[in-house]
Symmetry: C2
DNA sequence: TACTAGATTAGAACCATTATTACTTGATAG
DNA sequence: CTATCAAGTAATAATGGTTCTAATCTAGTA
């Protein structure tokens, strides 16, 4: 993760206008971490910018995706989530509550996957993503009560 | 992939009613292969069952998922796709046209991933899925014209 | 053949996302 | 400091995949 100023500079360099809404969204993503959905970003940022619209949230998230600062995470079936594009990590998703846990696996293992030649499938490989499925701690302990969705 | 009769028997064993619509959907999945969306299944099956409703398609796909015969594939951004749950394979998704290509990687490599101990993350690993991203043949050759959304 | 639990249908509802349009503003140049 | 305008924002409508609902129908059984 880089500081806010670095992101702001990057925007300036590319002629992207800096508005209070955008900066607030940047800050939100940096502060809360995790894998927020557009809804969650909206909830958080609209506390300080009550007129914020969803379009702005979506536009900004798209902008950040295009800048390579954020990655879309397709994990939940019907909702897009966003991940500050820090150093590479993989996701473990609980099959019951859909909680997303960042996981670091051996860098070598991922690199090995990305070396695979998929030419036989007429496919130019760019990136390999591993998604682990299973049970998070709370859901694995049935007495616990914080499974959701 | 198993024959239709095996699937029918499995339904009977579990007290699941067999209707013409369900059987037609089973057949559709087995014949057309690939990773159809609910929409595609509907289009195909409604040719023979013109009164078919989407609810039936979704219900049946959910039923098959619960039976373990089908797996939901979360790959395209916001549309669910379904994969006959045959022997294990991984997916390569074109980042431009979203075409999904089945890919077989060394079984050992996947098995190794599933052996990883995620206990440090308080996570009980059940399955590892690898998704490759890149360009399919058509999209890698810019002169070709069959890239689609 | 009649019964009934469960399946199907049509259509409305839902919800995340995208598009549209009018209004507003950040960044620049004078 | 102000004027300018390309670009951004807000409000709201539209879209599209999925789920729900209520009424009707039917597969499997007695």
């Amino acid at each position: 993760m880089q500081p806010l100023t670095a992101l702001i500079d990057k925007c300036r360099d590319r002629g992207v206008k800096l508005t209070p809404q955008r900066i607030a969204i940047f800050e939100c993503l940096m502060q809360q971490g995790g894998h927020p959905s557009a809804e969650e970003v909206y909830q958080e940022v609209s506390r300080r910018h009550p007129t914020l619209s969803f379009a702005t949230v979506y536009n900004t998230l798209q902008l950040l995706t295009d800048l390579g600062e954020v990655r879309e995470v397709i994990v939940d079936e019907l909702r897009r989530r966003y991940d500050l594009n820090t150093d590479s990590h993989q996701h473990a998703v609980c099959r019951l509550c859909h909680r997303i846990v960042d996981v670091r696996v051996g860098a070598g293992q991922v690199a090995a996957l990305e070396q695979i030649d998929l030419g036989a499938y007429d496919f130019q490989l760019e990136r390999a993503t591993i998604q682990f499925t299973g049970l998070c701690g709370s859901c694995a302990r049935p007495s616990s009560e914080d499974a959701d969705t």
